[in-house]
Point group: C2
Chain length 386, copies 2
């Protein structure tokens, strides 16, 4: 276990019916709010009305930024920053999935920027030194954005999808009402589960220090829970127990706990997937599912023991477990929940690998990931994922 | 899983050599500090000098309150409050185990009290509405006080040992340097491990809701880690890996994470043990070890399935596991690390049960624990623990 600092200041408000408390919680922080939402599904399912009614009941002024798409784009962030500045708003609330929360965070940081562009935070040109408070109301169990200081935005002009982070980006409050996820269809429920599991597996397989039993067991416990509840939620979309435990496990998966103490680890599967979804427009979780088995095969060269531990503890494969059988078990689970487990299942072919590697290299540079994630090694991972 | 609010604002600074950073971290919060310590062992092992040198190097004014004993007493808290007020100090730092940290918290809350006695917080007469900031530097992996808002103090005049809690009592910063625990002897290392495991087992076996997979698996993972690392630390007291993982697991064991969402659960073993240690002066962890198997036998009447799950997942007892075999496995582990596993091993006999139940009833009332923890049921638990 290596040295670390851990500080997660987000206040979590969890449970049935919490959605209707949104106004009460926001009122403690602000009276002039930008509410960021996606492209309509929350309106169809009544979620939007519950939150708006609650905000208005507390006589909070609210402007709405609508139309955030998955793989959220820079121009929408800039649109939000303009509204915040023009209207003198002082809090950004997000009602939606990871794209909506990340857009809200980028607006919150960008609105206070003096000089330069909000994209500078992603390209590494500027550090985030302040941000408006954010209140997150996730409607999908997946990104963990509701309890961390990260965001991912796509610059649609350059075709780059990049991540940025800051302690200033932790939501002040996140309201987790599992019933908001009842209407998420099976495929996106599966993609969300894979995203959360990927957040756990990357530090788990990448950490440089050999003895991290706290972090390993927390990650393994969350992975088992997410596997079990993702399947439960796909089979019974309105099963509160599955939706609730999946939501809380996905939140904890990227709250910093399972990474603290494992040392430098990177998120290489996410980085490569950001290139895949930026170029091919596939859902983020589907791209991760297509890449994870190939990446694990590549990691098995150095971390066969850890991959076997994963197979033994998560899939209970018994004493004959080894890295290949663990990877097979995981691939089998991906297929059982209807996910692709290779790039070819996404319609991506070997001739696309160079473009993906080119695109990923930008983020590799920003995060100082080479070595070990050289262009050559990324091509090897893509080849093993084909 | 039931509704909850979770907010843990403590900043954790973890790792080798962190002790020498104490002054730098305190400086960001205060320049006039009360440093609370125990009765000498940290001076013998050089820990005190490292912290004092660091505080003085940052030109912070420091007064020292020395002599906190295990099962810390009210008069020492009052002594600290008087120094803080007389000297105009504005931060309370704790360097020691749970007793020292809890004394520091009580001073931090009591110093700002206008009217009444600090004991009112424990007897339930007053709520804590503010406190000076606390910096905790634990030297024992046990209480978890370094990352929660609880404290336990003994009123030596009445013989009551009571707990109190408030969001204002979370340490602002906790500095966890595993090397500070190298000098903890084997018996106290074992008691610390039992204390941390007890913090996990009480919500685990007491929660009213049947499906809490996130909380269960986090607790099971931490328990396995604490069992493994407690044994490792007893065998090799200077093994950094064991000490570090034990320290972090014990901190997480009572940081609120494994309790959030399980519903009302109480800490009955702690409440009964507080009576035992108040009356018989036994170390807290030894008292818990003596009571845990008996309490689990009593709980088996209602929670046989959960106790079997504990045996299956933590002790890997296989498919023939049941509640008695799980309790036996746990009792065996207590004995392997040199702990008592019954009251008679502490020299306590059946004729003492009435006094223990009388003493415990005070805290049962404060925490509204009857039902199910009636006097009659406490006597049953004591009988099963004899």
């Amino acid at each position: 276990m290596l040295r670390f600092e851990f500080h997660n200041p987000t206040r979590i408000i969890f449970g049935k019916g919490r959605l209707a408390e949104a106004g009460a919680w926001i009122e403690g922080l602000s009276r002039k709010v930008l509410l960021v939402i996606g492209r309509g599904s929350i309106k169809r399912h009544g979620i939007f009305d519950i939150v708006m009614d609650s905000i208005k009941a507390h006589e909070i002024r609210v402007e709405v930024l609508e139309g955030v798409q998955s793989n959220p784009i820079l121009s929408k962030v800039e649109e939000g920053i303009e509204i915040v500045r023009r209207e003198g708003l002082d809090l950004v609330a997000a009602l939606g999935g990871g794209s909506v929360m990340d857009t809200a965070k980028a607006i919150a940081a960008g609105a206070l920027l003096e000089g330069g562009s909000v994209w500078d935070f992603f390209s590494g040109k500027q550090q985030i030194t302040q941000a408006l408070p954010v209140v997150a109301i996730p409607t999908l169990a997946a990104s963990g954005s509701e309890m961390n200081g990260y965001m991912v935005i796509t610059n649609e002009k350059t075709g780059h999808k990049l991540a940025a982070g800051s302690p200033h980006l932790y939501p002040a409050i996140s309201i987790l009402d599992p019933e908001t996820t009842f209407s998420v269809p099976g495929d996106y429920t599966a993609y969300g589960g894979v995203d959360a599991i990927c957040h756990l597996l990357e530090p788990y397989f990448n950490g440089p220090y050999p003895y991290t039993p706290v972090q390993d067991r927390l990650a393994e416990g969350l992975i088992k829970t997410i596997m079990e509840t993702t399947q439960g939620a796909i089979e019974s979309p309105r099963d509160y127990d599955s939706r609730a435990s999946m939501m809380w496990a996905a939140t904890l998966a990227l709250c910093g706990l399972t990474k603290a103490g494992v040392g430098d680890h990177f998120f290489p599967v996410h980085v490569i997937e950001h290139a895949v979804s930026a170029l091919f427009g596939v859902p983020h979780g589907a791209g991760l599912a297509a890449l994870l088995p190939g990446w694990m095969k590549w990691r098995a060269g150095k971390e066969a023991g850890k991959i076997a531990q994963f197979g033994a503890r998560v899939f209970e494969l018994g004493k004959t477990v080894n890295a290949p059988s663990a990877i097979n078990a995981f691939t089998g689970w991906l297929r059982r929940i209807g996910c692709p487990a290779s790039l070819s299942e996404l319609g991506i072919s070997k001739k696309d690998h160079q473009r993906i590697a080119d695109n990923a290299s930008r983020q590799v540079t920003v995060w100082n990931m080479d070595p070990p994630y050289s262009r050559e090694n990324i091509l090897k991972i893509l080849s093993l994922s084909q």
